[in-house]
């Protein structure tokens, strides 16, 4: 039935496809099924209830006015912050100087730190009684803040932790991109006496755009599903004010023990990010072809 080449291709992807089928496709189908049923973990009746879980999620003020805005705000700010910081660092490191290896190694540190560990460190630093941040603030005469029990300061700290974790990732990839750019346009610009800003704006940035776009797309999609740092830093609190989408689905499924509603939330979030992902992919494709 298949030619020799088709058989070879099939065998190359068969193990991966099988694993994905069993551990991703199948669970998603089961989750979709559960999202239409009355499936409380303590009393799984499994009666068909139609779209009522979807209705419950989409009419939940906590989901509409806290979780969704939080998730999108987090996605945009964390990617933008890490991109700007990462690009600045990549430009700074893209010149020879003494100790470059050392600086590069130090910059790699956050890449090795587990998000949970990062969250623990930051939580300890911003501890309201004994944290170093409040100690320093009080030493210079300012008032210490209960950072993690106010909505926006807690959100800011989550954001800061995420940017700390992912800036090096941007730096590394952008630096690799910078170093593979052709030298000639820059030499021409230097001969013409172009200012540094114009070189950056009209040469570096456009030539680096494909790398930037790929980084942003990968990171944006990952930022949407952030779970671990929020869970460890605030648990979604104070109240539920820093909950992101993944936390919302988890809380409904495993703390409120309502698998139906948790699955519905997980499917809604999955659909949202799929739409975003396809749009972003189009964008990458267009930029890659341009």
């Amino acid at each position: 039935m298949f030619g020799e080449q088709q058989r070879f291709m099939l065998f190359l992807i068969a193990p991966a496809a099988l694993l994905m089928l069993l551990f991703q496709v199948l669970p998603i189908v089961i989750g979709a099924n559960a999202s239409f049923r009355d499936w409380a973990l303590y009393n799984p009746k499994k009666i068909w209830v139609g779209f009522s879980h979807y209705y419950a999620v989409l009419s939940d003020p906590a989901f509409l006015y806290v979780v969704l805005p939080n998730t999108f705000l987090f996605m945009i700010l964390s990617v933008a912050g890490a991109l700007v910081a990462g690009l600045a660092l990549a430009l700074l490191l893209n010149r020879p100087f003494r100790g470059q290896k050392l600086v590069q190694t130090i910059l790699l540190v956050p890449l090795m730190v587990a998000p949970v560990v990062a969250a623990i460190m930051i939580r300890w630093m911003f501890n309201d009684q004994f944290g170093i941040v409040n100690t320093v603030l009080e030493a210079i005469g300012l008032e210490g803040q209960p950072w993690l029990v106010q909505r926006w300061s807690a959100f800011g700290i989550i954001l800061l932790t995420d940017i700390w974790l992912w800036t090096p990732w941007f730096t590394l990839l952008l630096l690799a991109g910078l170093q593979s750019l052709p030298k000639e346009p820059f030499e021409a610009a230097a001969i013409d006496g172009t200012t540094t800003w114009r070189v950056f704006r009209f040469l570096t940035l456009p030539m680096l755009r494909p790398v930037i776009v790929v980084c942003v797309v990968i990171r944006a999609i990952d930022a949407f599903r952030t779970f671990d740092i929020v869970w460890t830093l605030t648990g979604g609190g104070p109240g539920r004010s820093t909950e992101l989408f993944s936390l919302y689905a988890y809380v409904h499924a495993f703390l409120n023990l309502d698998l139906g509603r948790g699955s519905a939330a997980a499917i809604i979030g999955g659909l949202i990010i799929l739409v975003i992902g396809v749009v972003l992919y189009r964008l990458v494709d267009r930029i890659a072809k341009a």
Partner: protein, 278 residues
Amino acid sequence: MPIVSRPDFLPGLPKWSRKTLFALALFGICFAFAFPVLWLILTSLRPESGVYYVHRGTEFTLASFAEVLTDDRIVSAFLNSALISTLATIFSLLVTVSSGYMLSRFTGPASRIWFGTIYVFRCIPYISWVLPLYFVTQSWGLYDTYTGLLLPHVAVHICFFSWLMKGFFDGIDPSMEYAAMIDGCTRWGAFIRVAIPSALPAISALAVLCWLFTWNEFLFALILTGNRVPMITVVMAQFVTEMGLRWNLMAATAVMALVPAFLVALFGQKYVIRGLRI
């Protein structure tokens, strides 16, 4: 000698102040990225009474580490995390290197469909499939077992790593493989004996990344394991809520969780940087 040097840092300032500012900027950046980790290490070395005033006093002790190491749950969590990370790396590479090779060397509908599938599954948030996976593993009797945690970990890396692997293979000229096939090698022979050896730096980079990702992963372990297979990230997260006041023990555990990751990354740094550059 190149015709022109790289653009200067802050042109327009005198040379000595440029140099000082550059050095200060570098120092500030290194400080910002290293400080939280240094602070954690310092906290872990303080005795219980000194932990609330880390900045004061000069007593240092390894007692927190000793106490953490007597906790069976933490020790077994370390062993489990190390075992799962290592196995997940081996299986991930077996699965994704071939899948990435297929994406790179073949064009046509099959390749496009596979690429589309991978991209779609890369976008889907973990929670959307790990949440129901809890039931799947329970009904298969895999919940809270090594297999039940290992296979999802392998599955999750398929998408991203196949994509990276495709990029690596794209950078390797396929003419050697064609030459091998003309000389009588089978397709498998060309793949295993020619393509894989030339992709070894990239594969090493992938191995390092895979090990780190698995060691650092939290959500899977939280949902798919209970008490029989504790993983280090979950144990630490429980620690922070249940024993939130014993920061010296918390810090000691976190530092110990950092050490293997640091060793792997330090050893693998050159592969990762070289691999990403292809």
